[in-house]
């Protein structure tokens, strides 16, 4: 049904290379299952997302058990013309191991959700489910994009930049990264920052344990050389600002911070744990006197707002880059507002065809780098 009604959607300015009805609409594929709050939060999120003026072109393919979803949709008349329900019974549970989910989950809402992107029906996928399973299924169903050696999870990290966030990747798609992987992450992260942080020429940095050139692991030094060379080309579309240490991830020194998935994941979790510890210390300190308790009332709001900001999955979702299609992983605990935020992000990335942009960029820089350079 949504496919026909999509014709009434707003016109897209940039739809070159588009093979189906996304000429008129941006279709997002949504996994209704797998979130902590169940499909209610997802349906709430879709309704919430449609309230935005920019959402006039959005249509949804909603994957999950019709018996559970139909009653929720009936209560939301605004969704009736915008959501096409795709019935499927099976779901991937939070505790499922990725390998098991891959073996048994081909009939699941998660797999079907990715299917719609792989087939070209939808421009992007959104799921609240099991990250490991989603990553494994995305790899198998969407496959690596041409020219990309390894996919990555990118996240928005609260920072002192004007946009309020930096892009950090990889957040844990893989446990190691060679120089060429870090180079690809940089290109992917630059495209992601350009589209979501509104920076024309993102500044890329490599995470390292010293700002000096001589320090750190050899693969990082090699990635630095490649990024320097690439950034010198006008076509690069990004600048390379060198190594930064962990204390500068949240600064305004760079827009894109590149690291391997192990380090990125540890850094993200450490930041979360630090925020929690500070919150605890403050609460403790504030409880010691009546004046402290009054101050705590004032401090509670900003601290809570920060904790929501520090966990990018909770607000914007992590994004799987480097595949034939883009997947937004929303936090499992997301409520309607969180889901709406992930949907808005997916809409932007789908509308702007980030997956195609990354492939073009990688191809362009790869061919430039293959050219013989007449330099010392």
């Amino acid at each position: 049904m949504a496919r026909d009604e999509a014709a009434s959607g707003s016109q897209e300015a940039d739809n070159a290379g588009n093979e189906q009805d996304a000429q008129e609409a941006v279709v997002l594929s949504i996994d209704a299952m797998g979130g902590d709050l169940g499909p209610t939060a997802v349906v709430d999120g879709l309704a919430e997302a449609l309230k935005q003026p920019a959402a006039a072109d959005l249509r949804f393919l909603l994957h999950g058990p019709e018996a559970a979803l139909r009653p929720l949709l009936v209560k939301r008349p605004t969704l009736s013309t915008r959501v096409e329900l795709r019935d499927c019974e099976a779901t991937v549970a939070m505790g499922d191991r990725p390998t098991d989910a891959l073996r048994r989950g081909r009939e699941s809402s998660m797999w079907r959700c990715l299917d719609s992107v792989a087939s070209g029906e939808a421009a992007a996928a959104v799921s609240l489910g099991n990250t490991g399973a989603l990553m494994a299924m995305s790899m198998v169903r969407l496959r690596l994009a041409p020219g990309i050696g390894r996919s990555a999870i990118a996240a928005h990290w609260p920072s002192q930049n004007p946009a309020g966030f930096n892009v950090v990747l990889d957040m844990g798609a893989d446990i190691r990264a060679e120089a060429r992987n870090l180079f690809d992450y940089a290109l992917m992260g630059a495209e992601y920052a350009r589209l979501t942080l509104d920076v024309e020429k993102p500044r890329v940095a490599l995470l390292n344990i010293g700002a000096e050139d001589a320090k750190g692991r050899p693969e990082i030094a090699e990635a630095a050389d490649r990024l320097k060379d690439a950034a010198d080309q006008d076509a690069a579309g990004f600048s390379y600002v060198g190594f930064i240490e962990g204390d500068k991830i949240a600064s305004s020194a760079a827009d894109v911070i590149v690291t391997d998935g192990f380090t990125g994941n540890v850094a993200l979790k450490t930041a979360e744990g630090t925020a929690r510890l500070i919150g605890g210390f403050l609460r403790q300190a504030f409880q010691d006197s009546w004046r402290g308790r009054i101050a705590a009332l004032f401090a509670y709001g900003p601290l809570r707002a920060f904790k929501l900001r520090i966990d990018p999955r909770r607000v914007n979702g992590g994004v799987f880059l480097g595949l034939n299609g883009v997947v937004v992983k929303s936090h499992g605990a997301a409520d309607g507002v969180g889901v709406a935020s992930a949907v808005a992000l997916a809409a932007r990335l789908g509308r702007e065809r980030i997956a195609d942009r990354i492939v073009r960029q990688v191809a362009k820089l790869a061919s430039d780098q293959d050219d013989p350079q007449i330099e010392s």
Copy 2:
């Protein structure tokens, strides 16, 4: 001079295996140079340290230019009988590269400071100088202890444990770690935690990107197997509690968190950066209204206290473990209070002969592991 007067110091209960006059005194070797505030902060720190009741047994060898140090000592009569000045002109600067410091710095206060530990004159060294140079010189002058494959920098990390801190290592002595290195770090960290956090049987955890057994890098999985085996022995003196993620470093889930030096350094710096960002957000939020400004007055204290706590180098110093002698690296910006704190830590580690304890522990577990095990 200090050597003679040391005879009047308090008697040490546990001085078995001690070869010189530390029977009566604990002698610490102090590098007077290399701190941001110059030798004044160091001399202030020594005087401050001696105010503690536990410091009655302390004597210092103070390395640096006599012309600069003598006037400072004259102003501190309490130091006259406790400090032996060891004149040397050269210093290692903050910007010196470790390799250059090693080549040219054999006459420096830093090298001489380590010399006194290597020769057995002093029980531990304290320096505020260039970390890279100090680590390189420590490796060359003190060398790896028998049975230890790689040294590590251990730090106290603010946590929800009763002691207020956990031990985390390696903080950046090396950029990689194999399974056997992680195993050694665990043993060294357990000894450090036992002596400084007052836990009889420290709980050791490995930092990883998932709590499940199947995740993470292979060397971590192998280290986990070795630690499980070792902890099962009564003689181990520690328990192994499994993998933890970055958000649990500051929790009460473990006393010792083991990781490679690259990841540990990134985690530490990320925690520092997060604390700074939260501070900025809070200030911003508090500036928005007069009520906010009042709250800020109350929040300032705890937040500042936390920032001092979150940077272990600022308070306690990082500690180089795994060498023939122990070295405490105090933060370069430390003032007298900071130096006194590093001195107190060095005194405790020297008094308890942590370097010897680690060697004994490694030897014991190595021989136990070599025994044929009659198990399935």
